[in-house]
Symmetry: C2
């Protein structure tokens, strides 16, 4: 069962992400990051790898793409805020972006 | 050489698109449409097919995806407005969405 991040776990889990370029979205309990790639094929190739993990974990990003840029927002609709699923997916996105 | 749609060609070329759910974006010379699919895999599968055509034609959509929904905006940055490339890509998107 997915649960909203508690105040304590939030600090511990989000700190490495904010160190890595993630930031809190204003007015929503969500995090966001902009990923830049060499070109469209690189950007979409990364999105495709992300898509498989998102589907596997049944946890999907909100994202937009313009050419070589992908803006990602992560939140967990079921708990109306951030959960460990977002932390897990954020780490995966970073790792796939290498 | 890609050229901005002239006033005459614009009417002829855009009419079938607006009949098919495309609309002009306010404040920009661009068109947009929202595509809905059964689930994320369907939506992203369609995006992947679109991506190959976009890359082949070197003309890329601005798009966002949330689960089963994809919002697409088409415009031609090189001419700062709509060109025949947008019309061609819009038709392809519709045809791939079947």
């Amino acid at each position: 069962m997915t649960e909203k991040l508690s105040t304590e776990t939030r600090k511990t889990l989000l700190a490495p992400l904010t160190d890595n370029g993630w930031e809190l979205v204003e007015g929503r309990d969500a995090i966001r990051k902009t990923f830049k790639f060499g070109d469209f094929a690189d950007a979409f190739g990364w999105m495709t790898r992300v898509a498989f993990w998102a589907e596997k974990w049944n946890h999907h990003p909100e994202w937009d793409n313009i050419y070589n840029t992908v803006n990602v927002v992560l939140t967990t609709h079921d708990v109306d805020g951030l959960s460990t699923l977002d932390v897990k997916l954020a780490r995966k996105l970073d790792s796939l972006a290498g």
